[in-house]
């Protein structure tokens, strides 16, 4: 029960961070990616804030067992391969086209905006397509 409360609280704070920072606003995101045009550097501070805090806390946290679990579930892969490159490249293109990544996509659903809903449906379809191709061992 406590672990459910913690992950709920974590989601709540994450949503607050995304909307307060401006990450949910596609105009801001496109402005950040418009490095060679009318560059708006402000969203760089979202990454600076999150990464610098986690740099210290993650180190401390992973020295001890988690509160409500036996161990930390951290990714174990360490090799850079073509899949990682192509995946990140395709994601970056989609992000640059509309200015929305997965977290903000979910939070933006609460506005009931038709494009926000269409985006999440399409994103879900893209993920499902990957799952199918992955099962068929095509990718």
């Amino acid at each position: 029960m406590k672990s459910i409360m913690i992950s709920f609280l974590s989601g709540l704070i994450f949503a607050a961070g995304l909307s307060i920072s401006g990450m949910t606003n596609p105009e801001k995101v496109i402005g950040f990616l418009d490095l060679f045009g009318n560059w708006d550097a402000s969203l760089a501070f979202v990454m600076i804030g999150a990464i610098s805090l986690n740099f210290f806390t993650f180190k401390k946290i992973t020295q001890k067992k988690p509160l409500y679990s036996d161990s930390h579930s951290l990714p174990t892969k360490s090799n850079i391969d073509l899949k990682l490159f192509l995946g990140a490249a395709l994601f970056g293109m989609g992000w640059g086209i509309l200015g929305i990544c997965p977290g903000p996509a979910i939070v933006n659903l609460v506005t009931l905006d038709s494009n926000a809903i269409l985006f999440v449906i399409s994103m879900t379809a893209g993920m499902s397509l990957f799952k199918i191709l992955d099962k068929l061992k095509v990718v």
Binding site: I4, F14, D34, A50, N54, F55, A88, L98, F130
Partner: protein, 137 residues
């Protein structure tokens, strides 16, 4: 001043959220991974549902209190454009095992090679697309 104070506060909150998740449950807050794994749930998915519910609840609370400040924007784009962007984001984040939250917010602080590489790659391709569109306009 506001132009970087709010992003910084928001970024710190995102850091607090992902630290809380790692401290309490030992999990990485990778939103594309959490969301997509709910498409084929198993009996260990409870924390994923509650995280997603928290994300939505947070959005609802902020939208009802501060919609004119925090949600004062439009998602502009034709339907085909929105669909293509969504498909690329969905497919790409699964092929590349993560998005801005998993690779960027959680992977870079651990100095994970794959995450540093993925983050630089998706930012570079995002910049590339925006630059190409700017040149075409």
């Amino acid at each position: 001043m506001n132009s970087f104070i709010l992003p910084l506060i928001g970024g710190l909150l995102i850091g607090v959220s992902s630290s809380l998740m790692l401290w309490g449950l030992g999990k990485i807050s990778g939103i594309s991974g959490i969301y997509s794994s709910l498409l084929s749930p198993n009996n260990e998915s409870y924390w994923k549902y509650s995280f997603m519910l928290g994300l939505i609840a947070g959005g609802i609370i902020l939208n009802s209190l501060y919609s004119d400040v925090l949600f004062d924007y439009q998602i502009t784009g034709s339907a085909p454009r929105v669909i293509v962007a969504g498909l690329l984001v969905g497919f790409g984040t699964r092929l590349g095992n993560g998005c801005t939250s998993g690779h960027g917010v959680c992977g870079i602080p651990r100095l994970a090679k794959r995450s540093v590489f993925a983050t630089l790659t998706f930012i570079a391709f995002g910049i590339g697309i925006v630059a190409i569109e700017g040149a075409v306009k």
